[in-house]
């Protein structure tokens, strides 16, 4: 009996092994060669996520670099940002760093967290010859720690106020009435427009703190101090930003929706007459082809009397990282010659992808100054770079996402009637608990 069982199990295992061997047929040669970084054979592997945007930009950069370096090949692997983060965490925790590509793209908001938690993923590129002074200080700050640079800024996250000029005109306003103004003026104008046209100006996902952190950054404030300690409670700028948000929602000027897709839908379907977000939102605005010529952009309202009180802020944006598994010399030279040194490159990618540079010299090019038909012939790209250069620099810290989440929860409580100071004290405690 026992003998028969053994035989049966041996037969079973043999079947499985055979089947597996058949399944794996042809895969063996590629096994273990997924990351592909650091081979030193003149090839660069890159992880990026948007085929119409950063993947496209990287491929164009490769074409330009190949003019002088015909032997270099660049392979871009399309990987959504959340998946890049999952992979980075897995590779760092398992120590399998040889699976890393040469270069990967990272969201600026997540940069400090990764840099502090997994420094082994990065190569220090401070002495690579790239001139970081040619990028806005506020953007370079995302990828800098203790004076060392770990990223080449790519796309511009400068915040803009985009508005429907036809709706403004109906109520007797122009884009100038929304330029260089304060939040009080914005709310007064907005209420008037809402009363006359029935259109609210803004929308956003309920329970997300994007607008509040944009307002906060415009004052030079953050959720963390220079040492990375949370400064959520007892933060005057944050309290005032939340006050602005509450007034926007309560006056009906800001429509809260439940998801990102609904948010896009609100302006594409003309339910609201504008939006405030990073400049990259222009791509989604332009999907409404019937609204061509009806949009303008301008800077953000300022939070009067708090901190620096500027009209400039940022949301999003991303930077290229040279991984610790890279052919570092080649990767640095490649990024230095393209993303941090070629107007030709930025001129090429701008018209078809709308990928706006953080690299300041690029904005001097004529391509940036060209009027954009969708935005009633405004030179939106040049404006974006100009706005971006004036954004106050802030520290995001390792727990930026936790901070934003805690503030988001606080906003929901405040809108439900909680005392703002108490809600923020609770948020502070939540972040401190996460940091233990």
């Amino acid at each position: 009996m026992r003998k028969k069982m053994t035989l049966a199990s041996v037969a079973g295992v043999a079947t499985i092994t055979l089947a597996l061997a058949a399944c794996g047929g042809g895969d063996g040669s590629t096994g273990g060669d997924g990351g592909g970084g650091g081979e030193g054979d003149g090839s660069l592997t890159v992880w990026a996520w948007d085929p119409a945007f950063n993947v496209y930009a990287m491929n164009e950069a490769a074409t330009i670099y190949q003019q002088d370096n015909p032997d270099v090949t660049v392979e871009v692997i399309e990987t959504p940002w959340e998946d890049i983060q999952t992979k980075l965490t897995t590779l760092a925790q398992t120590g399998e760093l040889e699976e890393l590509p040469d270069i990967f793209l990272m969201q600026n908001n997540a940069f400090q967290k990764n840099l502090i938690n997994y420094p082994e993923l990065f190569t220090d590129i401070t002495d690579s010859g790239i001139d970081f002074a040619e990028f806005p200080e506020s953007v370079v700050a995302f990828s800098t720690t203790e004076g060392a640079n770990y990223g080449v800024p790519f796309d511009n996250g400068a915040a803009v106020t985009a508005l429907r000029t036809d709706v403004l005109a109906e109520a007797g306003y122009t884009i100038e009435d929304f330029t260089d103004i304060t939040w009080d003026e914005f709310i007064a104008n907005g209420e008037d427009i809402l009363a006359q046209t029935g259109k609210p100006l803004l929308s956003g996902v309920a329970g997300e703190s994007d607008l509040i952190t944009m307002i906060l950054q415009s004052t030079g404030g953050s959720l963390f101090d220079a040492d990375g300690n949370p400064t959520i409670s007892d933060n005057d700028a944050l309290l005032q930003a939340i006050d602005v948000y509450t007034r926007l929602v309560e006056s009906g000027l800001f429509v809260e929706v439940n998801s990102w897709d609904e948010y896009i839908g609100t302006f594409v379907n003309s339910n609201v007459a504008g939006t405030i977000n990073g400049i990259w939102i222009l791509g989604s605005i332009q999907t409404a082809e019937d609204q061509t010529g009806l949009w303008n952009i301008t800077n953000l309202p300022s939070l009067e009397g708090v901190g620096e009180a500027t009209n400039y802020s940022a949301n999003g944006g991303s930077s290229w990282v040279v991984s610790s598994n890279a052919d570092a010399e080649l990767a640095e030279d490649f990024l230095g010659a393209t993303f941090a040194g070629s107007t030709e490159f930025y001129d090429t990618i701008l018209p078809s992808s709308g990928a706006i540079a953080n690299w300041i010299p690029a904005s001097e090019s004529e391509v940036y100054a060209e009027p954009h038909p969708f935005f009633a012939d405004q030179p939106v790209f040049q404006l974006a770079v100009e706005f971006g250069a004036q954004v106050p620099s802030v520290n995001t810290g390792a727990y930026y996402y936790e901070g934003r989440d805690a503030v988001s929860a606080a906003i929901t409580n405040i809108l439900n009637g909680a005392d703002p100071a108490d809600a923020l004290a609770e948020a502070q405690a939540t972040v401190e608990f996460a940091m233990q």
């Binding site: 049966a8 499985i16 273990g32 592909g36 085929p51 940002w81 998946d83 989604s284 409404a288 082809e289």
Partner: protein, 270 residues
């Protein structure tokens, strides 16, 4: 109309509404695949003429053929092997007797409670050590032993008449022969039910393939959908078409095996 049918009218209305509500998302998915992105955002409920256009955009943006092939290979491979392994295990648990088998079953059931996120990193390290990252085997292997399916087969084997096993043994059939020539044909509907469950899980599997398949050439359908939503601008018509194409194989499989599935879940032998 008789009194009886009048009395059942409210429940009929209720059931009709419930049926419509559950079919609606499916309808919206199909209709949206034929509309432009702007129409989808505007919740247009009528079919449009964009199907070919969306398909062309999808083909231009992503390697649809490769993703379909990879998903099929992973799902079929997993289903065949998991059916074999789990049914042998379930059969063994019921037919053979050992003092520790209930304890072992307990351990297996406990394994069901561990979330995948907890085992992902050790698993990745193991496969990286074997040099198996970016291989189909790495996707299939962790999925071939499914405690739930083992349990399903064990329950089904309970109703498998022990006398048949005894009779077959007397007639000189070996254990493997009993399993292959008697158990498998009798348990066809259990196999169908298990196949649907395993195929669906394998086809929709996202996290593990995403982590272990670093090479883009191994991209699966769920990964393709994820890529479509990763950019600053999402084309919702194209996205809905991709979702529709991804759902089709599991829908077809379920429709084909529907009757057997219901039988297999409720008990194989009458």
């Amino acid at each position: 109309m008789t009194r009886r049918s009048l009395r059942s009218l409210p429940s009929l209305v209720f059931l009709t509404l419930a049926a419509l509500a559950s079919v609606f998302p499916l309808y919206f998915m199909v209709v949206s695949a034929t509309n432009t992105s702007q129409d989808v955002l505007g919740s247009r409920l009528l079919p449009g003429g964009q199907l070919v256009d969306n398909l062309n955009k999808l083909l231009a943006a992503q390697d649809l053929g490769a993703a379909m092939w990879n998903s099929t290979l992973n799902a079929v491979g997993t289903t065949v092997l998991a059916l074999l392994v789990c049914s042998i295990a379930g059969y063994g648990f019921e037919v053979f007797h050992s003092r520790n088998k209930d304890r072992l079953m307990g351990v297996l059931l406990l394994a069901m409670m561990i979330p995948f996120a907890a085992t992902m990193i050790p698993l990745f390290r193991m496969f990286a050590d074997f040099g198996l990252t970016s291989t189909t085997i790495a996707v299939i292997l962790p999925a071939i032993s499914v405690p739930f399916v083992i349990l399903l087969f064990r329950q089904a084997a309970r109703s498998f008449p022990h006398e048949i096993v005894e009779a077959a043994r007397i007639d000189g059939l070996r254990e493997l022969g009993i399993f292959l020539r008697i158990f498998i044909p009798t348990m066809r509907s259990t196999y169908a039910a298990a196949a649907v469950v395993i195929f669906m899980t394998a086809w929709n599997n996202f996290l593990w393939p995403k982590v272990i398949l670093i090479n883009e050439a191994f991209q699966t359908m769920p990964m393709l959908i994820s890529n479509l939503t990763s950019g600053y601008v999402t084309d919702y018509g194209v996205l809905m078409l991709a979702v529709l194409l991804t759902s089709l194989p599991t829908m077809v499989l379920f429709l084909v095996l529907q009757r057997a599935f219901a039988q297999g879940i409720t008990g194989a032998i009458k």
